[in-house]
């Protein structure tokens, strides 16, 4: 097992080295095969590891002392348990599919950029696996920052474009703001408990060393870190801009894996969060607010990837709502199903963009279903899954979240339900305007329309199948007692926090009603959007409130005026006025004072020998008088 884990992590790193260093020597086909091959290798090993965990093979494996300074020992160790095994599968599985997809999608790139792309992508998988397998907070932080930097590199992959580079920097800076809080939380834990290993700090005895306030502070700080990585209020604005990266990157990093790191981290630290219900409430409210805000923005976006990006933000909000309601398993469940259907949707949008030669504006699409059958059907499956159409994967996971929200507070449930309605509307608005109606692009584009190659459609089909059946690992108890496979599998991880959370028994009949309401809402949304956009796909220009939504509630502008511009102005002030005039002015002032003093004293040195001698004689006289007459 120890070697399995090491190779799961090292295989992608091997890919980084080969593709990064030999990218000019290898052929494109070979680069693609190596890049995908190492991830598929990791995936196979992950399956083996998963099997062992199912058979009860959880454990911590230490490789070497990372940092050991006496009172703080931080080993470089991996922890495999049910939670990390599941994430291993998601990361390497979805990752492998997307790598294969990339070989076709990025095929027009020239040789060394192709190699660069795959080495970045492999580096991302490597970092993500470190994050997931980490046994302690510091190793997790390595992965946590590592995925951030890969995200930076991949968003700015087309580095000739200044806007893309700015988006990349923005993403990393916002992530770093979150990481800053993460780091402080590590200091507190390291200082008070003297260890950073999850197995040692996530025990009631260890946490008892922290006061209630300290636990709350740590929990809040870590959650703030999660808002950066998982694009929650207030640090969510980078994710839509991150769509500057290639579409497979958006699918892998900004939908399926990296952005769920925050969810993973909170789930990993569930015991601590369960001890501080106030913080959990904050998590729930922030999650729900993000879900609602992003869903409203998604209603009026016209860029196919931007719609999906805001939908990702919104779905992540749902996950945090689940975490905040204490339904950790529901959150993890939603991470899994979301990874399937959102990767599918992004890859589908990539297929569309590929077919249209780079066009991303849905106002210039339409009627693509005729030309791209596979993409059309798989995309529809993805939309149904995310909208929560019964028996698709999203239905089960979202239903579980809604039930948990109801148990927590019916108000949360109400808003969440409304958000679910919006989800169905904007997804089917997207679907209808893209694939139905008539084509609204140029005739030249139309002549080139074609279905994408096999390397693109096969991943779509795989993910579509998973999006359909993925929910069946979590069939709710009311349908079949004990059939919630995921719950049974994951429950050991969350065993410690279960007694701490308030027990909410929801009767079976209530649960059926909740499920019915969710289904009804999904259907209403689907039919409303279908009715509005399928027949008449020409989107009108947004007016009034729609304008506000189209401009994302002017959040970017707000951040710009409140943070960015003042920061620049303040920087210029310090540089040009304070540092140059005040601080350096004082230093130069001292020098000038010496010079001035010298000028004032100069008259004594007249250069007249006579005056010097006179001065000398007078001084001698004074000394003489003082010596003999005054000093007795």
């Amino acid at each position: 097992m120890k070697l399995y884990l090491l190779f799961i992590v090292l295989l992608p790193f091997l890919g980084v080295l080969i593709n990064g260093l030999l990218r000019n020597q290898l052929s494109k086909g070979l680069i693609g095969r190596i890049g995908s091959g190492v991830v598929i290798g990791s995936f196979i090993l992950s399956i083996l590891a998963f099997m062992e965990v199912r058979a009860g093979g959880s454990g911590v494996y230490k490789y070497f002392d990372f940092v050991n300074i006496g009172n703080l020992k931080i080993p470089f160790a991996f922890q495999i348990d049910q939670l990390s095994a599941l994430f291993l599968l998601i990361v390497t599985g979805v990752g492998a599919v997307i790598h294969v997809y990339s070989t076709a999608y990025m095929h027009d790139e020239n040789q060394d950029h192709f190699g660069r792309y795959f080495s970045y992508l492999n580096l991302f998988i490597f970092s993500m696996l470190m994050l997931v397998l980490a046994d302690n907070l510091l190793v997790m932080y390595i992965g946590w920052e590592g995925v951030g930097i890969c995200s930076y590199l991949l968003i700015g992959y087309w580095f000739k474009n200044t806007e893309f580079n700015k988006a990349a920097s923005k993403a990393f800076i916002m992530n770093r703001i979150g990481d800053f809080a993460f780091l402080i939380a590590i200091f507190i834990i390291g200082g008070k408990i003297g260890s950073l290993s999850f197995s040692e700090i996530m025990t009631p005895a260890a946490l008892a060393k922290l006061s209630y306030g300290e636990i709350s502070a740590v929990a809040l700080l870590l959650f703030f870190g999660a808002t950066g990585k998982s694009a929650q209020i207030p640090l969510y604005t980078w994710l839509p801009d991150a769509m500057a990266g290639p579409t497979p990157v958006s699918a892998l990093i900004h939908a399926a894996t990296m952005v769920t790191a925050g969810v993973y981290m909170v789930a990993r630290m569930n015991l601590m969060y369960s001890m501080v219900p106030e913080v959990l409430n904050v998590v729930a409210v922030v999650g729900l607010a993000t879900a609602l805000l992003a869903a409203t923005i998604a209603l009026k976006q016209n860029d196919i990837k931007k719609v999906l990006a805001y939908s990702t933000v919104s779905q992540l909000g749902f996950m945090f709502l689940a975490l905040g309601s204490g339904a950790y398993i529901a959150a993890v469940f939603h991470v899994m199903t979301h990874a399937f259907f959102k990767a599918l949707l992004f890859l589908g949008s990539g297929s569309v963009i590929h077919g249209l030669g780079g066009e991303q504006d849905i106002r210039k699409m339409g009627g693509l279903g005729k030309y791209m059958k596979t993409t059309d059907i798989t995309f529809l499956i993805g939309c149904l899954a995310i909208a929560g159409f019964p028996l698709f994967s999203g239905f089960f996971s979202k239903d579980e979240i809604l039930a948990a929200a109801w148990a927590h507070s019916p108000i949360l449930w109400g808003i969440a339900l409304f958000t679910a309605l919006l989800t169905a509307i904007y997804m089917f608005r997207l679907y209808a305007t893209t694939f139905k109606g008539r084509f609204r692009g140029t005739t030249e584009q139309e002549s080139h329309l074609h279905e994408s190659p096999k390397a693109i459609t096969i991943p779509l089909i795989i993910l579509a199948i998973l999006s359909v059946i993925g929910g069946f690992v979590g069939i709710p108890a009311i349908m079949a007692e004990g059939a919630h496979g995921l719950q049974n599998f994951l429950s050991p991880v969350f065993a410690g926090s279960a007694p701490l959370l308030p027990a909410h028994e929801v009767s079976h009949s209530t649960e059926w009603i909740l499920m019915g309401a969710a289904t009804l809402v999904a259907l209403i949304g689907i039919f409303y959007a279908w009715g509005k956009y399928a027949k008449n796909p020409d989107l009108e220009d947004a007016r009034g409130f729609g304008k506000v939504l189209e401009n994302k509630w002017y959040m970017d502008e707000l951040y710009d005026t409140v943070v960015v511009t003042p920061y620049k102005k303040f920087g210029s002030f310090l540089k040009d006025v304070f540092d140059a005039k005040v601080v350096d002015g004082i230093v130069n002032g001292v020098g000038r004072l010496v010079k001035y003093g010298g000028r004032q004293m100069r008259w004594i040195q007249s250069g007249q020998i006579g005056s010097y001698v006179l001065l000398m004689v007078l001084s001698m006289l004074v000394i003489f008088v003082v010596q003999f007459f005054i000093r007795k």
């Binding site: 040195q605 007249s606 250069g607 007249q608 020998i609 006579g610 001698v613 004689v617």
Partner: protein, 109 residues
């Protein structure tokens, strides 16, 4: 002869020298005034040497010689000084055609 006469004479000579240095502008006169001061000191040295060692001189020929040797040193140095000083003054006169010391404040600039 009492020592006081020597002291008063030396004082007078010295004062004349100082006043000469302070008031005269001709470099050669200044120079002469400096010599006057040196000689007043020489006079004092010799006088004190004689006074302090008068008793011993009867038995020991070399008693008080150090003070007198000092005078020889001063005279030798003064001679050296004169030769260098006069040479400088001559050079000065050749360059600026004056020996007025008030023109010699070039170092200031």
């Amino acid at each position: 002869m009492p020592i006081n006469y020597y002291i008063v004479l030396a004082l007078c000579l010295f004062t004349i020298g100082v006043v000469g240095v302070l008031t005269r502008r001709n470099a050669i006169v200044v120079f002469m005034s400096v010599e006057l001061m040196l000689n007043s000191v020489n006079l004092l040295l010799v006088a004190f040497s004689k006074m302090h060692h008068a008793a011993k001189a009867a038995t020991m020929a070399s008693a008080g010689a150090d003070g007198q040797i000092f005078v020889f040193f001063v005279m030798a140095v003064a001679a050296a000084e004169v030769s260098v000083g006069l040479a400088i003054i001559v050079m000065l006169y050749r360059n600026i055609h004056t020996v007025d010391i008030n023109f010699l404040n070039r170092l200031k600039h």
